[in-house]
């Protein structure tokens, strides 16, 4: 962990040390004078908490191998909370960053936003019912497991992605009863054999309601017009991601109606010198896309733009 030089104008500031930023760094993005900031304690984005989950070994290996270049100034537990783009093209942009010592201003000629996504919640889909304890998303489940705790005993995991399967598998490995249900209409992922024996897998169905208070008791699904109700003390809602761009409201950067950063084919946002990649641009649980964007932006920026 390094410290920020406030008097300095960095050539590049990267916000976020998740897969897309690591991929860009590995592809040679980091030149001299580059600052990397992240909310977390270390690299890997929110996937960082899930790296021991079965089925994510390749991503775990990638994150572990992604040695951060020595010439990079790296600051963890350093959260960008605001961005003031330059008034005049060529002038530095200003990031407002919160660290333990307080709020600081970071200036950089170019900014790469790789600030990732936040997991969608049951509330974002307006699933009706009460608001009991036990309705969570994967990032909470993984962090609890890392601390030696579990969110419940009888768990329903709802979602469809490699990360979701890995979450379900990891909970089952911890000795919990796990049922995996995927939403209808999405391509069904092949299941590793070990996975299908460790947990109960139901055919795709749509989550329609929750019941129970103060603790979750039941989760209801609809499949072909029929209602199926499962007893559960925990629902891991894993239906997708949204861009983590709340902090960019007011910055003037163009965002889609869903909050994703809008970029052109060269990953440039609506403001000159500010680029964006990864989940913040294309919110999905597909890690390959983040890796690809990282590589591409490294080539584009190293090939002349920087």
């Amino acid at each position: 962990m390094s410290t920020i030089d406030f008097s300095h104008v960095y050539r590049l500031a990267i916000v976020g040390a998740g897969l897309s930023a690591l991929s860009a760094l590995q592809a040679g993005l980091a030149g001299e004078d580059t600052l990397l900031l992240d909310y977390q304690d270390g690299p890997g984005g929110f996937l960082r908490h899930a790296l021991t989950a079965p089925g994510l070994e390749d991503l775990a290996a990638f994150v572990r191998a992604a040695a951060l270049p020595d010439r990079l100034t790296t600051c963890f537990r350093s959260t960008a909370v605001g961005l003031l783009p330059a008034f005049v093209e060529g002038e530095p942009h200003t990031l407002m960053v919160r660290q333990s010592s307080g709020t600081v201003e970071v200036r950089a000629t170019q900014v790469l936003l790789a600030c990732g996504g936040l997991e969608l919640t049951r509330e974002s889909a307006q699933i009706p019912g009460p608001r009991p304890a036990g309705v969570i998303t994967p990032v909470f489940a993984h962090q609890l497991l890392n601390r030696g705790y579990a969110p419940g005993r009888r768990i329903v995991v709802y979602g469809q992605a490699r990360y979701v399967q890995a979450t379900a598998y990891r909970l089952a490995q911890a000795g919990l009863s796990v049922t995996l249900v995927s939403p209808p209409g999405e391509p069904v992922l092949a299941l590793p054999a070990a996975l299908s024996s460790a947990l109960t897998i139901l055919p795709p169905a749509r989550l329609v309601a929750l019941a129970g208070f103060p603790r979750l008791e039941e989760v209801s699904f609809e499949r072909a017009g029929e209602r199926v109700t499962l007893a559960a003390d925990t629902l891991v809602y894993a239906a997708g991601l949204r861009a983590n761009t709340h902090w960019l409201k007011g910055s003037g950067l163009a965002l889609s109606a869903q909050g994703a950063l809008e970029v052109n084919a060269r990953y440039q946002t609506s403001v000159h010198g500010i680029y964006a990649i990864g989940t913040a641009v294309a919110p999905s649980l597909d890690h390959e896309q983040s890796l690809t964007m990282g590589k591409e932006v490294a080539l584009l920026l190293s090939g002349g733009a920087l």
């Binding site: 790296l51 962090q143 601390r147 419940g152």
Partner: protein, 473 residues
Amino acid sequence: MDTHTRLDVLVIGGGVVGCAILRELTRYRASVALIERNPDICEGTSKSNSAIVHTGFDAPPGTLEARLLADARDLWPSVIADLHIPYLQTGALMLALTPEDLRTIEREIIPKAERNGVTLQPLTREEIVEHAPYVNPEVLGGVLIEGEGVIDPFWTTRAYCESAVLNGATVFTGEGVTELQIGEEGVVVRTSGGRELTAALVINAAGLWSDEIARLAGDDSFTIRPRKGQFVVVEEDHGVAQIILPVPNKVSKGILVTPIVFGGVMLGPTAEEVEEKTDLATTVEGLRAIREGVRRYVPDIAEAESVRQFAGLRAVGSESDYIIRASTAGPRLLHVAGIRSTGLSASPAIGRYVGELVRRELELVERADFQAELPEYLAETHPDEGDVVCLCRSITRGELLAALRSPLPPGSLDGLKRRTGAMLGDCQGNLCLPRILDLFQQQLGRDPLTLPKHQARSCPVAVRLAHTAGQEG
């Protein structure tokens, strides 16, 4: 535990009404306490409502409710200043979409408001569109109620209670009243925590459950029915800067569009008679009714993305007015019940009114050292605590620790949420909750396995695993 305590006054119920009364009572030389069965205060009707400080323009004239709402209008400015409560006087616009709506406003709404001492300002269609360009342009006219505003209801409740604690009151949380006997010496109250409290006077401010508290004393003179209100929270304000009111019908004021004091907009509430006092579920029909209701007034917001939906229950009493009177079982038990949906708005005046009743009954004497102003604890952070914990809302470790160090620390995760705004953003706390559990453990020594989300038996951490399943990457 010291199992027997003698008090002058015990308040049952840590909602906005109970906490406002508790604070008023600390103006006198008296030993006062409050008991709340939930792990933290503000866990019932006071946390799930439209957060409006209402003028009472439409209250039934001549009722105690109308009188206290009128008194509250004068008391709010000093309460807001002393307790540093986030408040915005947005004003409210009541919109007429039909000629009949216009007639109702002219013949019923304006004259009733006059009788309640509130002057409404009639507006033409053009004036409304100029004032509030976000409303349906087909509006025919309406009225402005200038004195209506929005407030932070959690802050209000917590600050009343915290101010009372700093002025010497005791607060018991996580303990319910199981027995209540009115005797010669006073009222003896036994709690689920094994405590026995004897008070010269007990105030029943138990909200939805106040009829059941009355039953414990053998008083069945009133009942409380729950009336559900569902809400939809939208993070984007869509330009909404005033409270938008439909012209009301007999059952409810209708579905409102209300700016939230700390940003965003709230749509709702519904008004549904329900059976259970625990029915806090949102429903497909309710959420649809809200969207359809607001579509007629603010079309753009009807389709807006929602970060959260919730339901609250109004405590509707069997009498047509507030039930503020002595119990039929004896004068030592005072009911403050049936407050329905105006408890927040009337709270300063209910506190003052009940405080005065108690003063006369117990012949209390005012203290010289009552501190009206609440110190700003939540702003007091230490060096090296500036890192962000709640990513969605940029809430720092220092802000969370300040709440945990306060004179009335939260007894639940939602209690910390209500004090700081953490966990209210897009991820609803899933990302930062583990770090917040760490802070509870560090600052208050709370075991994650016993830390509730809201009510008893609502711990998000259910099981300690035999061995650690993995380490942070």
